[in-house]
């Protein structure tokens, strides 16, 4: 596998993606179901209360998902790892379903009950998966992934039961597809700390993430305190994913595609991989949300549907191109 860009080009690409992101944010301010006179944009409530927070939230969710994708793929040494692999999604889905179906009214850190319960259940799921896969103080990545898959299957069964018993298919299903339609400043403020701190932690450990590429034993002999770093990184990635899930539901593919795509471009050095994936994830989400809002306006397509529709074919294309390149 040949990477496309060298170090300087990777730095340049980061700058380019940054400006693309700024441009995309700027353009999507003007897009939406409500027609606003462009000259009056900054005087309208729709802009300040709905569009602005929504675009920012889209960018933040993109950041959260792509960073946790990079981190989990690195720590678990599994190219299939995405932010949902450890059962975050499954737990979150149950939490949201309970909130929607039973109308539970809790408020945590200013979050309404759906995001709050989704967040709590996501974390509970990750803690369970981690504890279940721990064997004599060590966690093998394969066990972790398998435990995540098993718990997810169990959670889907519970979710199906909740849907059947309460008959809330439409609203729960809509949440599962992922959407930013309920974006608000409160949500932006709740996820910002996770995005910044989580991103900081990931970048802080980029040297260790590079060592993990050679396997855990090699990482040990290169001076990495493997078990500790693994725990910190998995915890950070899970918190970031749970935060994203709580405000946007399940948006697939961002955390899987973005890191793979960037790896093809700049190789496996996390010093470049993390910043560039972050910006690309943000850009992708802003664009996808703009499409979701406008393509069949005034109705909205769930952003998860947009991502999967565009994401899956693109991912397959990447995969085939890469396999061909290897021959």
């Amino acid at each position: 596998m040949k990477r496309v860009l060298n170090k300087n080009q990777a730095a340049a690409a980061t700058v380019v993606v940054f400006f693309l992101l700024v441009a995309a944010i700027g353009v999507s301010f003007y897009l939406g179901s409500a027609a606003i006179d462009p000259s009056q944009l900054f005087n309208s409530d729709i802009f300040w209360q709905i569009r602005f927070p929504r675009v920012i939230l889209a960018a933040l969710v993109g950041m959260l998902l792509s960073i946790s994708g990079v981190v989990l793929q690195g720590v678990l040494r599994n190219p299939l790892a995405d932010p949902y692999i450890l059962g975050v999604s499954a737990g979150g889905a149950i939490g949201a379903a309970i909130a929607i179906a039973f109308g539970v009214g809790v408020v945590v850190f200013g979050m309404s009950s759906v995001p709050a319960l989704a967040f709590l259940f996501s974390l509970a799921a990750v803690v369970m998966v981690y504890q279940l896969s721990k064997v004599s103080g060590r966690t093998a990545p394969e066990t972790l992934v398998l435990a995540g898959v098993a718990l997810s299957a169990f959670c889907s069964a519970i979710l199906a039961l909740i849907i059947i018993l309460t008959g809330n298919l439409a609203s729960i299903y809509f949440w599962l597809l992922g959407s930013l339609s309920s974006a608000s400043w409160t949500q932006v403020y709740t996820v910002i700390p996770y995005a910044l701190i989580g991103g900081g932690i990931a970048y802080f450990f980029s040297k260790e993430l590079n060592a993990f590429l050679l396997g855990e034993e090699m990482a040990l002999t290169l001076g990495v305190d493997v078990e500790r770093v693994k725990l910190i990184l998995i915890a950070a990635a899970s918190l970031m994913t749970a935060a994203a899930v709580s405000v946007s539901g399940l948006i697939g593919f961002v955390g899987l595609i973005v890191p793979h795509f960037i790896r093809l471009l700049v190789g496996s050095n996390h010093r470049f991989l993390i910043p560039l994936s972050t910006l690309t994830g943000m850009l992708l989400m802003v664009v996808a949300d703009a499409i979701a809002r406008t393509v069949i306006a005034p109705q909205e397509v769930p952003i998860g549907v947009v991502m999967a529709l565009v994401g899956s074919p693109f991912f397959l294309y990447l995969l085939r191109r890469r396999r061909r390149g290897e021959r």
Partner: protein, 256 residues
């Protein structure tokens, strides 16, 4: 720098240790070969010295410092390990891979310094793989890959280099090449490596340690370790040991 191993007991299960009470030294400038049948505990011992496994009992010290008192990073600046089998990696050039050896020296947020680049260039030079520098790691042949992995370990600027069967899976040309290289490296660090090929080991090592069932059976100059009697004792194979008249090197031949 001297490695001192004292009454080292190690393995995977505390109740059933693989090796018991191993005691030996590797002095500066030595190239010590560990030989013995499959499952005698060679690799386990090497993995324990490298810090991958924790010893169950006994002590390890390097240059007079107890290994348990060193942080992982400090240990990684003294001891480097070349495993027999590496998990497959992709997305790296040969130079990137050798640069990985500089991790124990990298500052948290800093990029590689000129000093790191120098160490990498030196390691690449030592292994004579300048021509591979820009190649992708997953495109290399077995012999090329082994040399890159040794270069990566050398970039760690270790005082002690551990190698687990560095010559297995290689054709005889590369076996000899790698052995000559290891012998040359003695001026930079002590070496401790496991071998299956007794003839190769006794040809190039300065000293041999013969292990059997987790214990050291013989330790000394190759000519004193590779004897018909020892080989019968450990492998249950009848051999004839011949000594070269030119340089005192020994080699065994199977008896018909």
């Amino acid at each position: 720098m001297t490695l001192q191993v004292e009454k080292l007991t190690c393995g995977y299960d505390r109740k059933k240790p693989v090796s018991r009470e191993l005691t030996f030294e590797v002095k500066e400038g030595e190239f010590v070969g560990i030989v013995g049948p499959n499952g005698c505990g060679k690799t386990t011992m090497l993995r324990t010295i490298s810090g991958i496994l924790k010893p169950f009992a006994g002590s390890l010290s390097i240059g007079g410092q107890l290994v348990e008192h060193l942080s992982r990073q400090e240990l990684a600046r003294k001891v480097a390990f070349v495993p027999q089998i590496m998990e497959p990696v992709e997305g790296f050039t040969v130079e990137d891979m050798v640069m990985m050896g500089r991790l124990p020296y990298l500052e948290r947020f800093a990029f590689e310094t000129a000093e790191d680049q120098e160490a990498v260039n030196w390691a690449i030079e030592q292994l004579r793989i300048e021509n591979l520098k820009g190649r992708m790691i997953d495109e290399l042949s077995g012999g090329e890959f082994q040399r890159v992995m040794i270069a990566r370990a050398l970039a760690q600027e270790p005082k002690l280099l551990l190698l687990d069967e560095p010559t297995s899976h290689l054709d005889i040309r590369y076996q000899v090449k790698i052995c000559k290289l290891m012998r040359r490296l003695r001026s930079h660090c002590s070496l401790l490596a496991t071998f299956h090929d007794l003839n190769l080991a006794s040809r190039f090592c300065t000293r041999l340690i013969l292990m059997s069932r987790g214990e050291i059976v013989a330790d000394g100059a190759p000519a004193d370790v590779v004897t018909a009697e020892n080989i019968w004792k450990v492998y249950r194979i009848k051999v004839d040991v011949k000594k070269s008249s030119k340089n005192d090197k020994v080699r065994y031949v199977l008896l018909p």
